[in-house]
C-alpha cells in the first residue's frame, strides 16, 4: 500500500520569501506520479505541480518547483517569492497510474505574513 507523509503540520513564511514544504512517500511501484495540491478556505483542491517518477528533471511551474529525490522517496515543494494568496493547506499526493486514485498526505498549513 502507498503511504504519503507530511511531517510539517504548519509552516510560516514572510511575503516575498522562499519556503520549502516536505513530503516523503512509500511505494513498491516502479512507475508512479507525484502531485502537490493546494486547498484554500474555499475547500477546492487546486493542482499546483506534478512530477513523473521516471523523469529525473525536477518540475517547475512559475514560482513553484519541486526537489524530487527518488532514492530517498522525497518530494518537497519550494515556493519562491511567497504571496499572501499562497496561504492555504498544501497536500502531497501520489498516484501509481492505476485509475485516478490519489493517496494524500495529512497536509501542511502554510501561513504567509507581511
Amino acid at each position: 500500500a502507498q503511504t504519503v507523509t507530511q511531517s510539517q503540520p504548519e509552516m510560516s513564511v514572510q511575503e516575498a520569501e522562499t519556503v520549502t514544504l516536505s513530503c516523503t512517500y512509500d511505494t513498491s511501484e516502479s512507475d508512479y506520479y507525484l502531485f502537490w495540491y493546494k486547498q484554500p478556505p474555499s475547500r477546492q483542491m487546486i493542482l499546483v505541480i506534478r512530477q513523473e517518477a521516471y523523469k529525473q528533471q525536477n518540475a517547475t511551474e512559475n514560482r513553484f518547483s519541486v526537489n524530487f529525490q527518488k532514492a530517498a522517496k522525497s518530494f518537497s515543494l519550494k515556493i519562491s517569492d511567497s504571496q499572501l494568496g499562497d496561504a492555504a493547506m498544501y497536500f502531497c499526493a501520489e498516484n501509481t497510474g492505476t485509475a485516478s486514485k490519489l493517496t494524500f498526505g495529512t497536509g501542511t498549513r502554510l501561513q504567509v505574513t507581511l
Binding site: 504519503v4 506520479y33 502531485f35 474555499s42 475547500r43 477546492q44 483542491m45 487546486i46 493542482l47 506534478r50 513523473e52 497536500f91 499526493a93 498516484n95 497510474g97 492505476t98 485509475a99 485516478s100 486514485k101 490519489l102 493517496t103 494524500f104 498526505g105 495529512t106 497536509g107
Partner: protein, 115 residues
C-alpha cells in the same frame, strides 16, 4: 466553462439515515472520482467511475455506493450513517481515467454532518 459542481454544499443528517450526494463534472469529462476528507486529514479515495463503469474502489464499507449516469454526472450514496461519516466529500472529474495525463479537477465539496 463551469467547473465541477457538487450539491448540496452542506447537509446535516441523523445516525442511521441515508444520504445522496451529487456531482456534475466539467463538460467533456468522462471520469468522476469521490474522496472523503475528515477534518484535519487529507482526502481518502472512495470510488472512481469512468464511462459509467467502476474503475476503482477505496477501503470503504459496503454502506458506500456510487453510480455514474449517461451524462457523466454521479451520485454517492451512504446508508446507515455513522457519526464517523461526518466529513467533507469531494468530487473530482477528469477527461481520461488516469490521474497523470488527465489531471483531476475538484469541486468545492459537500460538508456532511452526522448527529
Amino acid at each position: 466553462d463551469a467547473g465541477v459542481t457538487q450539491s448540496p454544499t452542506h447537509l446535516i443528517k441523523t445516525r442511521g439515515q441515508h444520504v445522496t450526494l451529487r456531482c456534475s463534472p466539467i463538460s467533456g469529462h468522462k471520469s468522476v472520482s469521490w474522496y472523503q476528507q475528515v477534518l484535519g486529514q487529507g482526502p481518502q479515495f472512495i470510488f472512481q467511475y469512468y464511462e459509467k463503469e467502476e474503475r476503482g474502489r477505496g477501503n470503504f464499507p459496503d454502506r458506500f455506493s456510487a453510480r455514474q449516469f449517461p451524462n457523466y454526472s454521479s451520485e454517492l450514496n451512504v446508508n446507515a450513517l455513522l457519526l464517523g461519516d461526518s466529513a467533507l466529500y469531494l468530487c473530482a472529474s477528469s477527461h481520461r481515467d488516469t490521474a497523470y495525463n488527465s489531471p483531476l479537477h475538484f469541486g468545492n465539496g459537500t460538508r456532511l454532518t452526522v448527529t
